[in-house]
């Protein structure tokens, strides 16, 4: 039922981001930039457990990836992140994928299909995305072990690009 409803509105997440973007700009919030500490928030995962960021990943280099399944390119990036996670997880790499504006059922189905093992969080109302200045998808942040933003990728990223940006701080 939920899948069906969400499927009717593939741009709902992006629209939500647009509205939040407008309200963020109107409120004059400080933009999130490289060198800033990553904003703190908690989000539920697919099982309903909550994960705090960046506190819940402290001591790790973290890739935080904002996505939605209506973005075609995200389908390529999620498995690329899984490859990196399996390869560098032992060296202290943490990966968190944050879905923006979609239902649990929809996200679960997408994730199952891709056999993803890293945490996938749900930002149903897009508030976390707005806090992070994410007004389009996909967006990827790379945080160092202190939770400071070291890289921000606007748009898609390949496995090679992520690896190149990641390795110097891993």
């Amino acid at each position: 039922m939920m899948r069906g409803k969400a499927g009717k509105f593939p741009w709902a997440g992006i629209l939500l981001l647009g509205i939040l973007s407008f309200s963020m700009n109107a409120a004059g919030k400080t933009p999130v930039r490289i060198g800033d500490p990553f904003p703190s928030f908690s989000l539920p995962d697919l099982s309903g457990s909550s994960l705090s960021l960046p506190g819940g990943m402290s001591g790790k280099v973290v890739i935080i990836h904002f996505w939605t399944d209506s973005c075609g390119n995200c389908r390529d990036e999620m498995p690329a992140l899984e490859t990196l996670y399996r390869h560098y997880g032992g060296r202290g790499l943490g990966i968190v994928a944050i879905n923006v504006g979609q239902s649990v059922a929809q996200v679960a189905k997408f994730v199952d299909g891709l056999k993803i093992t890293y945490p996938v969080l749900l930002d149903a109302d897009g508030k976390a995305a707005a806090i992070c200045g994410v007004f389009g998808l996909p967006r990827t942040f790379i945080l160092d072990r202190e939770g400071v933003i070291r890289q921000k990728i606007i748009g898609e990223a390949t496995e090679e690009t992520l690896k190149k940006l990641l390795l110097p701080i891993l």
Partner: protein, 378 residues
Amino acid sequence: MRNRIERQREIIDFTLSRLSRRKGRQLAILIVYSGAVFLLASVMFLVFALRTEAILLLRQAPELVVQRLSAGRHDLMPESYFDAVRSIRGARNVTQRLWGYYFDPSSRANYTLMAPESVSSGDGAAIIGDGVSRANSAYPGDILTIRGHDGRLVNLAVTRVLSPDSQILSSDLILISRKDFMAIFSIPPGFSTDLTLTAENAGELPLLAAAIRNLLPDARLISRQDVLKTYAGMFDWRRGFILLVLSASALALAMIAMDRAFGLSAEDKKEIGILKAIGWRTSDVLLMKFWEGAVISLSAFISGILLAYAHVFLLHPVLFAPVLKGWSVLYPEFRLTPFISPVQMALLFILTVIPYIAATVAPSWRPAAIDPDAVLRA
């Protein structure tokens, strides 16, 4: 002299206390009047600021752009065209330009990618317009990814955000190196999107254009004046603004007509008769009416102007933005530089304050001039 000033003061005091006795009506007039001034002033400020900004920006635009048409469509220009134009006597600063539109699915916006010779951002780097920065929350140090013609991703490190001062024309710009541009759009070596040039003598521009047309029959020439016309059309000055000005003027006129229709009520006439009976002269009554009109119209003028200034220059012209926006998703923020012309202010004053004062004073002339007994009996 002192007596005169004292007389004015007393009449002003009387006028103010008289106005305060009819607060509701005066406030309604003030609100409608301020609204009319606000609309008129907003349009005037906006048109003047946009025109001034456009003129300043277009000073930097090329005098002449030469494009190549193929089956009526804009096509890439081979180096031979560049050589041909350079060989024409009087052609100066002939430059090969590389630019193109790019739709970004992630922000659902169109960008204008450009690879200028003069601004070199270096390979793998990008200088972005303020609109691109705002739409993506992109700042120096971030990586912007662009998908090239072959599906390959090109990573561009943002090195600078262009000043918001020039955002009307640069809001959606992404400046990249020529090498990156050619890789993204698959431009063969030696080819360019179009040519720009200046005439050695501005008066010879038509001759130069004719020579180019002669030499390159498939060329399309766009002069700075053409760009100005397109720019004017983009903001729809003629239709949008005139419609707004007319509607605002109609509102102002309706307000004045309404006030005149209220005009001199029996109560007003009786009051004038009483004032005359207790020794007021005709000139005193007319002076009172003058101050009454002046207080209302000046208050409305000042509040309308201040509101219009805030609307156009501080809050982005939110009411008129839909009229001004182009086709692009990346709208400029319309934070305009406050250019205000004194002539404009004087015109606005003449259009809004003087008619109201006249409309207030004129109907009082007859009751103020005739015998008070006749007024009171009427």
